[in-house]
């Protein structure tokens, strides 16, 4: 199997980010909240590769730990959103009838409120902790996964090969796991990449608004908030997360694109 260069670059970067996130304590030169200098917003130097932040902490270390937090929350929320959304979506498609109607109309209702607004409403009464964040983001986003999974499964469910399986006398388990799932997997995996990017942006936005990860814990959105005041003095410390988020998001996007293209070309294959 040949992997196109764009997808390869995407894969390498994505792996690198996850590697750094997992091994952050061994990679970061200083502690996460360790004040290493009396001077705030020091420019990059050999001692502090990205300089220091608004409290005199090593910015590189905070970026690395921040990446760990952001990626962890985004991954957990994606897994939650994905498992909930796709299981319910498949069930709705296979069961049909009132169960499908009830779930689908409820999802319509949730989706008629923008997710950020909904999250803000909920976070105004909930304690802002990491598990709550994961839960709120994951469940809100599972509505989108539900819609996709249901649509894909409904499309497959009306295929003659599924009808043939029903006429053959196959049980529901065989139909879901052997007929529908293998054909639904690729579009769902590609969507998983996009959901992950969305989660990264979502948690960063919440943290930036002060309603996500709470200080002194580092995360990319929070780093922007902490160092935003420096911008008007021409200090770019708040912009490093932009580079980190953009690189990660583009890399995952490239991988997702490749997964999706591979599926479509397989579908439209010879014959």
């Amino acid at each position: 199997m040949r992997i196109p260069i764009a997808a390869l670059v995407g894969l390498i970067f994505t792996f690198a980010y996850f590697f750094v996130a997992i091994f952050a304590p061994w990679i970061a030169p200083y502690g996460m909240a360790e004040v290493v200098s009396r001077d705030v917003w020091l420019p990059p130097s050999s001692e502090f590769l990205l300089g220091t932040d608004n409290l005199g902490r090593d910015l590189l270390s905070r970026m690395i730990y921040g990446g760990r937090t952001t990626i962890f929350i985004a991954t957990a929320a994606t897994i939650l959103s994905f498992s909930t959304g796709s299981i319910l979506g498949f069930l709705a498609a296979v069961l049909g009838g009132w169960a499908d109607q009830a779930m689908s109309r409820f999802v319509d209702l949730i989706m008629s409120i923008p997710s950020l607004i909904f999250a803000l409403v909920v976070l105004s009464v909930m304690p802002v902790t990491v598990p709550v964040l994961i839960l709120v983001m994951g469940l809100l986003d599972s509505t989108r996964v539900y819609r996709l999974a249901r649509a894909v499964a409904v499309d497959i469910n009306v295929m003659d090969y599924v009808e043939a399986a029903k006429l053959r006398g196959e049980g529901r388990t065989w139909i879901i796991f052997r007929e529908i799932l293998p054909n639904a997997l690729s579009p769902l995996v590609a969507e998983m990449g996009l959901r992950f990017i969305f989660m990264v942006l979502f948690v960063s936005t919440l943290s930036f608004l002060g309603l996500g990860v709470q200080p002194p814990e580092a995360d990319w959105g929070g780093i922007v908030k902490e160092n935003a005041d420096g911008i008007v003095y021409g200090i770019g410390a708040a912009l490093y997360p932009a580079v980190a988020i953009a690189t990660l998001a583009i890399s995952v996007n490239l991988v997702a694109d490749w997964v999706l293209n591979r599926t479509t070309s397989l579908k439209g294959g010879r014959g």
């Binding site: 199997m1 040949r2 295929m159 003659d160 090969y161 009808e163 043939a164 029903k166 006429l167 053959r168 006398g169 196959e170 052997r178 007929e179 293998p182 054909n183 591979r262 070309s265 397989l266 579908k267 439209g268 294959g269 010879r270 014959g271």
Partner: protein, 545 residues
């Protein structure tokens, strides 16, 4: 050159393909085709899918669809090579000198505009006629083409008229600017046979009356024989045979042309009914959920073991619905289905494994009837596992036997459906049905998505297998030629009812009821002058009444 309206010399056409896992690259799809057309004559371009016939037709308007590019040769229209002239001249050619009628008028009309505006657009734009003249011409053409209410049909929107009517409107659109040449691209393929004959006659008369020349593109040799002066046979982008229609039909030189002419010449002797039918359909009435009319009305038919019952009808006749009732996908509201001596439960969950095993089904579109993620081995092997508990070596051995029965080798066992040709896919579906050792196989339009020669192969295979396996077929089709080839008994369906039923010879012999008569006489025959004969007969009959 100047005496010919159209002269194509050594035309080569290429396209870019995007094979999965490979770099996109260019291939040649038409390899040097040459022909000529005089004013007022009709040339038929015929071939199976992939022959390049539509591509060649569009090249006469200097047009390449999608990524198709004309890579070499000359196309002379009215004395100039249109591949060498500028864009302005090509615009004047399109819609003025040469016009186009597509297979799907429903898609080719702009849904947001009235028919009249679209029919007259080219004539006005090209400065051929004023708006008033164009509209008068359009109404005259609507009348000539036999459209109802010709004065007012132009003010309708495309979705407000039927498919057959829209196809005639498309012909009016092409003829309105008074072109020198019309390219007809499969103009009747999407229509039912009884509609096809009217449109075909309308087109033929319009060509005759206006003196326009035409390129008539189709995969159906019997159709093209009715309208053409000359025929060009194409195969995979190559010219096979080119000559006057009489010679091509009555004295084909090339083997491929001979095969095309003699297609559907399978003959099959009607078998005598045995004592006990394997399938008895009694008083079946059915309707779809949420609708208030019956799609099947009091259906009664029987099928004997090892025989074939053909259920024939046009779209909307209810023939596929009958299959859904028998398989249990649509429970009937009234009546019963008796199969192998027992009454079948109306709905699928009420049937046991033995019912399901003995009643198998083969679909029209083999592509979507097989899971693209399963290999041929898995597809054929699954019924063996499910019904007979076969595993490992025993299963493998049986799969190889079945592959052998469908005339495919053991090397196909690990292939995926996407790696098979259309005919091979349908064969695998047949093997999957046979694997269950059924008493009855329902064949739903199994040959209609295939090219005629491939379809012939499938029909021969089905007949051979019937002798060996002693299986009965319920054969659902719209194609009377197929029916003649394989049926023992026939049920003709029309608007949810069986209008004629009996042994093949009886059903196909006069006296006929009106609908069967219409249906039978509408099937194009591989014979010159057939169209005129039918039309003349119909006129005489209606005069006689």
């Amino acid at each position: 050159m100047s005496d010919k309206l159209l002269a194509v010399k050594d035309l080569k056409i290429g396209a870019t393909v995007y094979p999965p896992g490979e770099k996109p690259h260019d291939i040649e799809i038409v390899h040097g085709v040459s022909f000529e057309l005089e004013k007022g004559k009709v040339l038929g371009l015929i071939g199976e899918s992939g022959a390049g016939k539509s591509t060649i037709g569009l090249a006469s308007m200097a047009y390449g669809r999608g990524g198709v590019k004309i890579t070499g040769g000359e196309v002379w229209v009215n004395g100039r090579d249109i591949l060498q002239t500028g864009l302005g001249d090509i615009r004047a050619l399109r819609g003025g000198e040469v016009t186009y009628v597509s297979q799907s008028a429903a898609a080719s009309f702009n849904p947001a505009k009235q028919i009249m505006e679209q029919v007259t657009e080219a004539a006005i734009l090209q400065g051929k006629f004023s708006r008033k003249e164009s509209e008068a011409r359009a109404i005259e053409l609507f009348r000539k083409l036999g459209l109802p209410d010709p004065e007012n049909i132009g003010s309708r929107y495309p979705h407000q008229v039927s498919g057959g009517q829209l196809q005639r409107c498309m012909t009016a659109l092409a003829l309105c600017p008074e072109p020198d040449l019309v390219v007809f691209d499969e103009p009747t393929t999407a229509l039912d046979v009884t509609t096809q004959i009217d449109v075909l006659m309308a087109i033929k008369e319009a060509i005759r009356d206006t003196g326009v020349a035409a390129l008539y593109i189709t995969h159906d040799l019997a159709v093209v024989a009715q309208v053409s002066d000359d025929i060009l046979v194409l195969k995979m982008g190559d010219m096979v045979e080119y000559g006057p229609v009489d010679q091509i039909i009555n004295n084909p030189q090339e083997e491929y042309t001979q095969a095309l002419v003699s297609v559907r010449s399978i003959s099959h002797e009607e078998k005598e009914p045995t004592s006990e039918p394997v399938l008895t359909v009694q008083n079946i009435t059915a309707r779809y959920k949420g609708t208030n009319f019956d799609v099947l009305k009091n259906i009664n038919v029987e099928l004997h073991p090892g025989q074939t019952l053909a259920v024939v009808g046009e779209s909307g006749s209810g023939k596929s619905t009958l299959a859904r009732v028998i398989t249990g996908l649509l429970p009937q509201t009234v009546g019963r289905v008796n199969f192998a001596g027992r009454d079948l439960s109306p709905d699928l969950p009420g049937r046991d494994m033995e019912d399901l095993r003995e009643l198998q089904m083969i679909y029209q579109m083999a592509d979507v009837a097989m899971n693209p993620r399963q290999t041929v081995g898995t597809i054929i092997g699954r019924p063996l596992e499910l019904y007979f508990g076969l595993k490992g070596e025993a299963k493998h051995k049986r799969i190889v036997e079945l592959l052998d029965e469908i005339e495919m080798g053991v090397e196909f066992i690990d292939r995926y459906p996407a790696e098979l040709s259309g005919g091979q896919k349908q064969r695998v579906c047949i093997a999957r049905a046979l694997a269950a050792k059924p008493k009855l196989i329902i064949c739903d339009e199994v040959t209609s998505a295939l090219d005629p020669l491939v379809a012939d192969g499938i029909l021969k295979l089905l007949l051979d297998l019937q002798k060996v396996e002693d299986v009965a077929y319920l054969f659902i089709t719209h194609d009377l030629a197929t029916v003649k080839a394989i049926a023992d008994s026939i049920a003709v369906m029309y608007q949810g009812e069986v209008v004629r039923y009996g042994g093949k010879t009886d059903v196909l012999s006069p006296p006929f009821d009106d609908y069967t008569d219409l249906l039978l006489s509408s099937v194009p025959e591989m014979k010159l002058g057939w169209l005129e004969e039918v039309i003349a007969n119909r006129k005489m009959e209606s005069a006689g009444n």
